[in-house]
């Protein structure tokens, strides 16, 4: 079994209202040095069999990310 970590982030240039809302809250709390916040997802997959990173990439293309608005990154830690 191999752990594969997929990160899905809103594409640069696509409005991220969630990131903006978080940034606004941080500024209110005194964290005024934050110039940008983007909120994405981390998906952990336990994959059996051959080429887990390749399988995860296919999953991203087919379901896990919508490439109109999101970028993904596949990583096999360790």
């Amino acid at each position: 079994m191999t752990l594969v970590v997929v990160t899905v982030m809103p594409k640069k240039g696509v409005l991220d209202p969630q990131g903006q809302a978080v940034q606004g809250a941080l500024a209110h709390m005194g964290f005024g040095d934050v110039s940008d916040v983007r909120v994405g997802k981390r998906i952990e997959l336990e994959i059996a069999g051959h080429d887990p990173a390749g399988q995860a990439t296919k999953m991203c293309e087919d379901l896990l990310a919508n490439q109109l608005i999101e970028d993904f990154h596949v990583e096999v830690p360790g």
Partner: protein, 214 residues
């Protein structure tokens, strides 16, 4: 002659199937429910409605999981044969995620759930979906959504309906509803099935169901 049979799709989390079925009936059609695991549409299906709700709890992205179910393979084949498909709210999100319509629905710019009556301007009178209405005419239809901001290239679709006045949700080009270039697949965030009875304030949603059955 028997009534036109219309498949009304139900996924886990679909909410508005009864209103959609009632609107089909009110238009003279025969609604038949079809479920996410069905590999085929009910025999004799002439048109498909994908109602609103929160299929699969909106997990991952609204409509993403529903769009990969077996019934959507059957809907894709139906649309490829020129059959009519109407996706409302979550149904619109499912159509975009399935690739039957271009673009994607993103969270409202305000991040708020918005629920109110809306004026929608007919932006393209050349599709069947607005009946004989001229461009610029207004339909009054309610909407209720959190993820209603359409993001995509308007050149890849026919923009059928736009929000009149202020942009309520950050949708590109104030898009409220689009059809595919062929005109047989229509998706919109507002709820025409809730604008069928004078008692509820508007009957402007009837035109979309009439188009579905025509």
């Amino acid at each position: 002659m028997s009534a036109t049979r219309v498949a009304v799709l139900r996924f886990p989390g679909t909410l508005d199937h009864e209103s959609a079925a009632r609107a089909v009936e009110g238009t003279g059609g025969e609604p038949v429910y079809a479920h996410h695991e069905d590999a085929a549409l009910p025999a004799g299906t002439r048109a498909v409605v994908i109602p609103g709700g929160f299929s699969y709890g909106d997990h991952l992205r609204p409509g993403a999981l529903a769009s990969r179910t077996p019934i959507m393979g059957a809907v894709r084949a139906h649309a490829a044969d020129g059959g009519k498909v109407l996706g409302i709210c979550n149904g619109f999100q499912i159509l975009c995620e399935s690739g039957l319509l271009p673009g994607v629905l993103r969270p409202n710019a305000s991040l708020s759930f918005i629920c109110r009556q809306a004026d929608l301007q007919v932006a393209d009178s050349g599709t069947p979906w607005t009946g004989g209405r001229n461009e610029g005419e207004v339909l009054s239809i309610p909407f209720k959504h959190h993820d209603g901001a359409w993001f995509g290239d308007p050149g890849e679709a026919r923009v059928v309906l736009r929000y009149a006045g202020e942009n309520p949700n950050g949708s590109i080009d104030k898009v409220a509803g689009i059809s595919n270039l062929g005109g047989n697949v229509m998706g919109l965030m507002p709820h025409p099935e809730e604008a069928q009875e004078p008692l509820l304030g508007s009957v402007d949603g009837r035109v979309l169901f009439a188009a579905l059955l025509s």
